[in-house]
Symmetry: C2
Subunit: 206 residues, 2 copies
């Protein structure tokens, strides 16, 4: 597999292909085509063929893609053929919702622990987890080898907390705080900001 | 203002520019440059200049952008110089977290109402809101002229509920369910899926 020069925008589409293929598999389908996948995702068939061809030969002219095989290949490429332990930072409403969300485990992610700095929250039970003191995060993260954190602290605390996470070994942050994080370039950051997406849509509304 | 042919990918970056400018303004800054804005957002200065130039002349060679003016212009372009009423569909953990989130109002969005179909949830108080019966949504949406919904129902219910929302007048859906929605092309859809973004990052992890 040639891993060198894949544009990040192509990488970002692969999880969507994987998601659609899994839904097709759950619906009992065993093969698909770039055309069908494209209709499902509102992406052109040519784009899908071009994206996938960067990683290898996954389909056959005329017969399309074998869904279970392509799922396996995409899981390998995306490194989700395993379970990544993740840490939730912040036990507010959003932290609670994430811990209780059932959809992570079968898609490559296990919630390992949740932290807060508020004495009123530390020790609280959320689902199967107990909120831990953020002061203990270094130990916990290093003991479990955790590389991924979901950051759900207030905007005013996000940058300092993100820097702390990087200092204790976190390599990838899913940032729910509505501020961009300024971190070393080798740290992966993805932002979830519903307001950005709402404002994208209002452009088109009357 | 020439509204005709702006690529959607450019439109999608404008809310990020607006967010960064507001944060600069809150930090007491009054002018900025495409270079500074680019460093803040990890976008090239050339890209920012090119994006903004599609909407008009907002800066001056050498002196850069006046932040309050550019904020106002971007708010106009994105139609967020007003408050959009939004409806939350689904009063689970995520619906609760969204209703309690304080960050919407000053950025163009007011939570007007929240709906569920679960008799155990209907009538529940969440913050200043009472969960309403989804059976009453048509009345509520049409009375208030609501065009935007945040969809936080389970994946298995998302498509049917989205179709119902469109039938009663919703024009834009922020979809938190981990399934793509198949809706008429004139309906705007943005998806929030933390798993897609996590899988994007694991590609780069060892």
């Amino acid at each position: 597999m040639n891993r060198t020069p894949i544009p990040d925008i192509v990488v970002g589409r692969l999880p969507r292909y994987l998601q659609a293929l899994r839904q097709m598999a759950e619906a009992g389908k065993t093969t698909t085509s770039s055309k069908e996948l494209g209709q499902w995702l509102r992406i052109s068939a040519a784009q899908i063929r071009k994206d996938l061809s960067q990683f290898g030969e996954f389909g056959k002219q005329g017969t399309g893609y074998a869904i279970p095989f392509l799922i396996e290949q995409l899981q390998d490429i995306l490194n989700v053929n395993r379970c990544w332990d993740v840490a939730i930072i912040g036990a507010g409403n959003l932290g609670h919702a994430i811990v209780r969300y059932q959809g992570f485990a079968n898609r490559g992610f296990c919630i390992a622990c949740i932290f807060d700095n508020d004495p009123a929250k530390i020790g609280q039970r959320i689902g199967d987890h107990i909120v831990e003191d953020i002061a203990n995060i270094e130990n916990a993260i290093q003991k479990l080898g955790i590389k991924i954190a979901l950051l759900t602290v207030p905007a005013s605390e996000a940058q300092a907390m993100a820097e702390h996470l990087v200092a204790v070994g976190i390599k990838a942050i899913l940032n729910y705080a509505p501020v961009p994080l300024d971190l070393p370039p080798e740290v992966r950051v993805q932002n979830i900001d519903p307001l950005i997406q709402l404002q994208h849509m209002t452009y088109y509304l009357e």
